[in-house]
């Protein structure tokens, strides 16, 4: 059975102009011990999705439909206290600005121990032992556990936050852009830790990022999101090698690859749609070079190809040549959004 199942989840934010449908019918699952990456541009709903799972949506946001099942149990209608028990014990998180998430007036050890005591009863010695293990796990010197956060560098603080997220041996860890604020070298070290953790402890991870290469390095499976919906989902290798959604192809082409200097950089013309009144049919229609009248009028069907789930009317065209053209700038010139700029 899957560890986490998100089933047709809808999250709305109430605003003066009507509800913003930030997450609109998203389904996917995470198996035990699996690292799943959620990829998309800002505003695609990936952070909202994480907030909904953690139960920390903004005041004006609410789950408007669907279920989030953890270990088979729907957590969307749990009471606040039940939910709290689940958090950190079973589901923990590495926040987006993890570098600044530590309290400057307590030592790192105190903060981790506090998190442990809040959920578990154990002796001080046991807790200290746990902190030592955690530090070793994330590659920090256990001798420095009594330092204050300001004595740590950014990368070390990030690792301390990872240690804290692991403190209660949760079965699922959510990491929201775990490396975005970091320099290349530190980013690399954190990515290495994340990959290593998967081998050392058997927890699952959900990694939210806009950075395709982070996903490529750490994840087994990838969910590509666009405008509040899943565009494509499947094993990382297949998503990178033979994707079927034009958006996935566009994202790939937009990322410079240090190993492929001659590759054209693709920009997907236009912007993601407003989510107050999203377009009917496919949400990617205005930016998609394959768009037809069908895309405008009807929602894209779920197409299963190889081991991918793709939501697109034109998966046949992808195989029929678009995949090889997608890395070409000119392939994106015929979209509605590109035409608008031309005019």
């Amino acid at each position: 059975m899957s560890l986490l199942e998100v089933d047709d989840l809808r999250v709305h934010y109430e605003t003066g102009e009507g509800p913003v449908k930030a997450v609109d019918g998203v389904s996917f699952s995470i198996d035990p011990g699996e690292n799943v990456g959620i990829v998309g541009e800002s505003g695609c709903g990936k952070t909202t999705l994480a907030d909904a799972i953690l139960g920390i949506l903004e005041e004006n946001g609410s789950v408007a439909g669907g279920e989030i099942r953890f270990d088979g149990q729907d957590i969307t209608d749990m009471s606040a206290s039940e939910r709290r028990r689940l958090m950190w014990n079973e589901i923990s998180m590495i926040p987006q600005s993890a570098m600044n998430a530590l309290d400057p007036v307590y030592t790192v050890r105190d903060q981790i121990v506090e998190a442990i005591f809040a959920h578990e009863t154990m002796s001080n010695n046991e807790a200290d032992e746990r902190v030592r293990d955690l530090f070793e796990l994330v590659g920090l010197d256990p001798e420095r556990a009594d330092d204050y956060p300001h004595q740590f560098s950014g990368g070390m603080r990030q690792r301390a936050m990872i240690a804290m997220a692991l403190a209660l041996e949760p079965s699922l860890i959510l990491a929201d852009e775990p490396t975005t604020a970091l320099d290349v070298i530190m980013q690399d070290q954190i990515l290495k830790r994340i990959s290593a953790l998967q081998d050392e402890i058997n927890s699952s991870m959900m990694i939210i990022t806009h950075d395709v290469s982070v996903v490529a390095e750490t994840c087994d499976r990838v969910v590509v999101m666009y405008a509040g919906k899943v565009a494509e989902e499947g094993p990382a290798d297949t998503i990178f090698d033979r994707p079927y959604h034009p958006y996935t192809l566009g994202l790939q082409g937009a990322f410079p690859n240090i190993r492929k200097p001659d590759q054209d950089l693709v920009s997907i013309p236009g912007h993601p749609p407003e989510l107050i009144e999203p377009p009917t049919g496919c949400r990617f229609v205005d930016r998609c070079p394959l768009a037809t009248e069908d895309c405008r009028t009807s929602e894209p069907p779920e197409v299963r190809t190889d081991d991918l789930r793709t939501f697109c009317h034109h998966t046949d065209k992808i195989d029929g040549g678009f995949r090889s053209r997608a890395g070409d700038r000119d392939a994106w010139k015929e979209t509605v959004a590109a035409m608008e700029i031309q005019r």
Binding site: V184, F255, P256, R259
Partner: protein
């Protein structure tokens, strides 16, 4: 040094550029420190940087945060006054320009900043923002020029943007406006500080293409500042890898990325994540942190994190950035692991420093 790479005076020549910032602790502490006889402490943000920039060339300055790449860029545009060394532009020393001369230089250099939300004045319309440089330099045909610049930046029709305020535009559009502003004076070179790192992935390529077009079609020289080597590889002819205020390796981009020589460059290149799960990288894990820019270490600045540390030479003798006998191509490397092609003998320097007053050598190559 670098001037040996190409013949003839380049458009821009930077020699031994330095920028120190005084650690400011207010008037009272400054006075008490002076009474006590303490020297004020300085942050050595840029500490002896040299390179050339040819017309139409693109150079990438890469390194971790705190390596001095942004300070170098801001000193080039004269946002900071250099504390030492020289900047020559078209054969003229512009290091200490002031008044009218500085104003004339300013027509030729522009800067593009990282954050499109911060780089436009929220209280001014797009037209106001773009026309300002023209007003300052008293250039005619203002409206046509502004329209032309906006059009080039892909904001068409330009008239539609004239009266808009920055908050009415998207991030990508704002960055295009920032580029249009940089172009409106028709400069010779542009310093672009992380020009796309704040933009959404799908918009980045569009802005990068724009920068590429400026360079290719109008022979504009661009200095890119970024920590993202994948991006620099795409955009730059030459690359300068910086560490703690110095360039440690300089040369053609492909050569550096394909076969990095300096241990730091190796670590940096190998740390870049690759968007392809089938490629497995060889990781070089760097121990420790970037050193202290206030108490700059003696000898090589990278010595504490270096796997290939040679001992006393690295500890005591600062490696000059120079050609190496055992490295082919137009490459300058500042590391004792390679043999100098310019006759610099680190062992001799070490002996000299020992027999001398015993103070560590801060060697510079004298060429």
């Amino acid at each position: 040094m670098s001037e040996q790479i190409e013949d003839g005076e380049p458009m821009l020549r930077v020699e031994n550029l330095q920028k120190r910032f005084r650690v400011d602790d207010g008037i009272v502490n400054a006075i008490t420190n002076r009474l006590r006889g303490d020297d004020p402490s300085y942050v050595h943000a840029v500490d002896g940087v040299s390179f050339d920039l040819q017309k139409g060339e693109t150079l990438g300055l890469a390194g971790e945060s705190g390596c001095g790449k942004t300070t170098t860029g801001m000193t080039l545009t004269k946002l900071y006054e250099p504390s030492g060394g020289s900047i020559r532009y078209e054969g003229r020393d512009i290091t200490d320009l002031e008044g009218e001369d500085l104003q004339a230089f300013r027509r030729n250099v522009q800067m593009i900043f990282q954050d499109p939300f911060e780089s436009l004045n929220p209280k001014r319309t797009i037209f106001d923002t773009l026309v300002e440089p023209l007003k300052i330099h008293d250039i005619g045909n203002q409206q046509k020029r502004v329209a032309r610049a906006l059009e080039f930046a892909g904001l068409t029709p330009p008239e539609q943007f004239f009266d808009q305020f920055p908050h009415e535009l998207s991030g990508g559009q704002r960055q295009r406006v920032a580029i249009a502003r940089a172009l409106v004076l028709d400069p010779d070179f542009i310093v672009a500080d992380e020009p796309v790192s704040m933009l959404d992935v799908s918009l980045r390529a569009g802005v990068l293409q724009l920068l590429e077009r400026m360079n290719k079609e109008y022979n504009l020289s661009v200095v890119y500042i970024s920590h993202d080597l994948s991006l620099l590889r795409h955009m730059c002819d030459k690359l300068a890898i910086m560490y703690l205020g110095r360039i440690v390796e300089y040369g053609r981009t492909e050569e550096i990325i394909e076969s990095p020589k300096h241990p730091y460059t190796k670590a940096l290149v190998n740390a870049v994540p690759v968007p392809d799960p089938t490629i497995k990288r060889t990781r070089v894990e760097l121990a420790g942190e970037v050193g202290d820019a206030i108490e700059v270490p003696t000898g090589c600045r990278f010595k504490d994190r270096c796997d290939e540390h040679l001992g006393d030479v690295c500890d005591q003798v600062s490696p000059p950035l120079e050609r190496k006998a055992d490295i082919t191509g137009d490459r300058l490397v500042g590391c004792h692991l390679f043999e100098s092609a310019e006759g610099f003998d680190p062992e001799a320097e070490l002996v000299k420093s020992r027999s001398g007053d015993g103070s560590p050598v801060a060697a510079e190559s004298d060429d």
